[in-house]
């Protein structure tokens, strides 16, 4: 792998602001044409990492390689990347056409080609009838398109998106999510997308990089992260509603949970000690007559028609969320039986709460 040229490669990137370390040695390689999403809670360093790649900030140590060439110290203007900002950062005193062509004018491109590229981008994003308007006269979604258009016309090596959808309402966000995915399919450029929204990450990414506290927790395909989270943080972060966590202890391959439930799990190796058992809401079966591994009390529920969410609690107070792909009759306070399939549980163990390997 080392002699192959990646679209982008980060080697032991560290970044400190004064005495505060924000990024703690990140190694990452991104391939040509990949759609990579950096996801994590706020303050995890994902935006900082993006700014380091863009060249808007310089890393404290480590190397950034763009197509095999080290670009540390090369200013943002000369890296050939383009970026869509969270606030869009459209030039308020220029109309849409001037906003789109500004970058190309800076590259001393011939007039005719600028017009050509700007018109193409405008048509692609369906903003061609807005070309004479100022950003202040556009709606949020239109501004978003102009911001993306400004990134497209440059035909960059890599697109960088910094939480581009966070200022849009839910409906528009869904629509733009699809459009950005389509755009990636159409253009085939490498894209790096930063978000704190795991749904955006799951739906758009070829590969997700989960960050926490300036470290990579896990990276991989969306479903790999979903099905085999490397630790409790990733397990809790990816997926909505969140994975259920139940405390307990492990002896050999038998877990005894604090809520009273005992379960044989298909561990690859036997182990001992305190563990956290994780099970996704949809991996829990419900029986209204109380049959199953344990009894829980229904505290609340949401009937969405196709899906039913049931919020329940064990006698010791630990809560359990269940997601059923069907409708069932429920009342609050009622006792129901739940069944947990051992094939779908995760066990987290140790100070870093790493996942224990399963035999499956």
């Amino acid at each position: 792998m080392t002699d192959q040229t990646h679209a982008l490669e980060l080697k032991q990137i560290r970044k400190s602001f004064g005495k505060v370390d924000v990024i703690h040695g990140i190694d990452l390689a991104i391939e040509e044409g990949e759609f990579v999403v950096f996801v994590g809670p706020s303050g995890c360093g994902k935006s900082t990492l993006l700014r380091l790649i863009a060249g808007l900030d310089d890393p404290t140590s480590g190397d950034i390689l763009l197509q095999g060439k080290r670009v540390n110290g090369i200013p943002a203007a000369e890296r050939g990347l383009s970026m869509v900002f969270q606030s869009y950062a459209l030039y308020p005193h220029m109309n849409v056409r001037a906003n789109l062509s500004f970058g190309l004018e800076n590259m001393n491109m011939p007039r005719a080609e600028i017009t050509q590229r700007v018109d193409d981008a405008a048509r692609l994003l369906q903003i061609d009838q807005l070309m004479d308007r100022r950003p202040g006269q556009l709606s949020g979604g239109q501004r978003q398109r102009v911001a993306i258009g400004r990134a497209i016309v440059r035909e960059p090596v890599i697109f960088l998106f910094d939480e581009p959808l966070s200022n849009l309402d839910a409906e528009l966000r869904l629509q733009m999510r699809v459009e950005i995915s389509n755009l990636h399919a159409q253009l085939g450029n490498t894209m790096i997308y930063v978000t704190h929204d795991q749904v955006e990450a799951m739906t758009m990414a070829d590969r997700i990089v989960v960050l926490r506290g300036g470290r990579i927790e896990q990276m991989g395909k969306p479903l790999d992260l979903y099905n085999a989270p490397a630790n409790k943080f990733v397990a809790g972060f990816i997926g909505a509603p969140q994975m259920n966590f139940l405390k307990g202890s492990l002896a050999g391959r038998t877990v005894t949970l604090d809520c009273g439930l005992t379960k044989e799990v298909p561990l690859a190796e036997e182990a001992q000690g305190p563990v956290t058992l994780g099970v996704r809401p949809e991996a829990i079966e419900v029986s209204l007559d109380g049959a199953g591994d344990a009894q829980v009390k229904v505290q609340n529920f949401e009937q969405l028609g196709a899906i039913t969410y049931i919020y329940t609690a064990f006698d010791n107070g630990e809560t359990l969320t269940v997601q059923l792909p069907r409708q069932i009759p429920l009342t609050r306070g009622q006792s129901i039986g739940i069944g947990i399939d051992p094939a779908h549980v995760h066990l987290f163990h140790g100070p870093e709460e790493r996942a224990l390997g399963m035999a499956r």
Partner: protein, 374 residues
């Protein structure tokens, strides 16, 4: 909306209705609010303020159109009066006086000799018939006449005003004002940009140092500034006035504060758009700082146009480099001061600055409102 201290006026006859119509401040018909005590106080206060600002200017203007003699006599009448003269055969041009012998009968006369307690006068019809009258019985025969010569003499170099080079002074003043303002805007905008948008060691120190110079009165640095200008070899030239005024702490501070409000993301977006820092300055920072730049432009024009002390020091030796403000000093001599010319030319020099202000005052108000500075 009702005035807190206004009172509604009861209906009455047609006159009362008219009065009510003219004095009502808000509302309609019988429920209208009248002119209350607070209104009277507010308008008095505003009128007082207007008078304080306007009276000196109006006094300057009205005095500038009075004839020389009326100005020198400190005649405080508002209108410009001048004594009527007449060409009298065999005597020459003389001022006409009205002689009142106490019976109510008036006679036009001219003074045939020096003014004494009993002055010799004669009528224009019979210039040889000289008779003595008490001085107090003579009143000047006057007409209202605008003394345009106060303006035209210096401008057209008539009546011994050949040394007043109006066109040269005007050109010098305009040149200094325009060039100094342009350089001020450029240099202060660059300084403001650097101090607001770049992170470097000592940024705050520099800002504080620059702002701190506001505390030093110009007269204190006059001597050192003189030596600096002297050693740069621009003493005696217009550049000696322009260059030292180019960087003003007020301007740097005003622009820095305004530029702080421009989001950094715009600059970063421009950097991602492959714009050089120079291009960012011209295409992003300058257009977005226009309100603050207008304020500084107006201030700079006013400062440079009205500047007197520093141009006096630098340009005194070369009359061809004098500005209008320096030119005015020519009328004030050791023994005699031509106040009518000074006032007329003062009005002329006020005109351009007034026009600039009228044209740009909307920028001042929006600029002050947005920068919170004056």
């Amino acid at each position: 909306m009702t005035m807190p201290h206004g009172h509604s006026i009861p209906p009455g006859g047609p006159m009362r209705r008219l009065t009510r119509f003219l004095t009502r401040t808000s509302g309609r018909g019988d429920s209208a609010q009248g002119f209350g005590v607070t209104d009277v106080l507010a308008y008095s206060y505003l009128a007082f303020g207007v008078l304080i600002v306007l009276v000196p200017v109006l006094w300057t203007f009205f005095t500038s159109i009075k004839p020389e003699r009326q100005v020198e006599n400190f005649d405080t009448r508002l209108l410009p009066y001048s004594q009527i003269e007449e060409e009298i055969a065999g005597v020459g041009t003389r001022d006409l006086w009205i002689f009142d012998d106490g019976t109510g009968e008036e006679q036009l006369v001219f003074k045939a000799g020096p003014t004494r307690s009993v002055t010799d006068v004669a009528t224009p019809e019979n210039p040889d018939e000289v008779f003595g009258v008490p001085r107090e019985t003579l009143e000047p025969l006057e007409e209202v006449r605008v003394a345009v010569e106060n303006y035209l003499d210096p401008i057209l170099k008539r009546n011994g005003q050949e040394n007043f080079h109006f066109a040269t002074y005007l050109f010098n003043s305009v040149f200094v004002t325009v060039v100094a303002t342009l350089i001020t805007l450029l240099i202060n905008a660059m300084a403001g940009f650097a101090l607001s948008k770049y992170r470097f060691r000592g940024r705050l120190t520099f800002t504080i140092l620059i702002v701190a110079t506001l505390l030093i009165p110009a007269s204190i640095i006059l001597v050192s500034l003189f030596f600096v200008v002297w050693s740069f070899g621009i003493f005696g030239s217009l550049w000696g006035v322009i260059i030292p005024a180019a960087a003003t702490p007020t301007g740097v501070f005003l622009l820095r504060q305004y530029m702080l409000t421009i989001p950094d993301e715009l600059l970063e977006a421009a950097r991602m758009d492959a714009a050089s820092e120079w291009r960012i300055f011209w295409r992003i920072i300058i257009p977005l700082s226009l309100p603050a730049l207008s304020v500084l432009a107006i201030l700079s024009v006013i400062w440079r146009w009205n500047d007197f002390l520093w141009p006096l020091i630098v340009l005194i030796s070369d009359p061809s480099a004098h500005t209008l403000q320096l030119g005015l000093t020519q009328f004030a001599g050791e023994f005699n001061t031509d106040f009518h010319y000074i006032l007329a030319m003062t009005v002329v020099t006020l005109l351009p600055i007034t026009l600039v202000f009228v044209w740009l005052q909307r920028f001042i108000t929006t600029g002050i409102a947005t920068t919170g500075l004056k």
